[in-house]
């Protein structure tokens, strides 16, 4: 896919940077002792602590890596 780099991609780039920033912020808040916001580790502990669920999450993680970085 040919991608033309230019300033007209700013909106899309800004959106994804905001998404990454949001994840970073809530992850940091999740590590604050007084906060009730769950961190990513807490979510994994709560919802992916079963071996099958964890294996599914790992497969999704591997596919994301293949799709984004080597494909």
């Amino acid at each position: 896919m040919a991608v033309i780099i230019g300033s007209d991609k700013v909106i899309g780039l800004t959106f994804w940077c905001c998404v990454l920033l949001a994840f970073t912020v809530i992850e940091v808040i999740g590590h604050v002792p007084a906060s009730r916001m769950p961190s990513l580790g807490a979510l994994v502990t709560r919802y992916f602590s079963h071996p099958i669920g964890r294996a599914f999450a790992l497969v999704v993680w591997l596919y994301a890596g293949y799709h984004l970085f080597s494909h």
Partner: protein, 166 residues
């Protein structure tokens, strides 16, 4: 037996289980790992797509992070036996898991997924390019995404699995 610490800032009746604090050596190890991840992510931004170098580099990095995460989890369990048990861990909220926090996580994921689907379903549009297309175009975003991906792998590997009660 109370296996967790009561957080002084928590409301009465709610406990937040914690693992033991990281030692100096562990903090140094974490700092080195983060630095290595950032350096590797910088190299990853230069990998050409559809090449074996990119595949080997990506999955090799993921495998290393996964192995280190599993080793870290086993080490923490050996040195902190009081936090073993279903759902136990340094970051679990115990019985007071905040569903609003979960809703925020899910909400951001849903919004991001919807935006990406717009990029898939519409002709290539400057505002709705998919994440993969944008990160191929902007190498710093590629590096940043790589670091996030490695972090997600670390969390998946280092979080203990549920144990059956005997």
């Amino acid at each position: 037996m109370d296996i967790g610490d009561r957080d002084a800032s928590s409301p009465p009746g709610r406990t937040r289980r914690r693992g033991r604090p990281l030692g100096v050596g562990e903090l140094i190890a974490v700092a080195l790992l983060v630095t290595a991840a950032v350096v590797v992510a910088g190299f990853a931004s230069g990998w050409k797509e559809y090449t074996w170098g990119a595949r080997i580099g990506t999955f090799g990095s993921g495998l290393i992070v996964f192995g280190l995460g599993v080793a870290w989890q086993h080490r923490r369990e050996r040195t902190s036996p009081s936090v073993q048990g279903p759902g136990a861990g340094p970051e679990t909220g115990g019985g007071s898991f905040d569903r609003r926090g979960v809703a925020i996580w899910v909400g951001i994921l849903v919004v991001a997924a919807a935006w990406d689907v717009c990029g898939l379903l519409t002709p290539p549009d400057k505002n709705h390019l998919t994440l993969s297309a944008l990160e191929l175009a902007y190498r710093p975003l590629h590096s940043l995404m790589f670091v996030y991906w490695l972090f997600a792998g670390w969390v998946l590997a280092s979080t203990p699995l549920r144990r059956r009660r005997s």
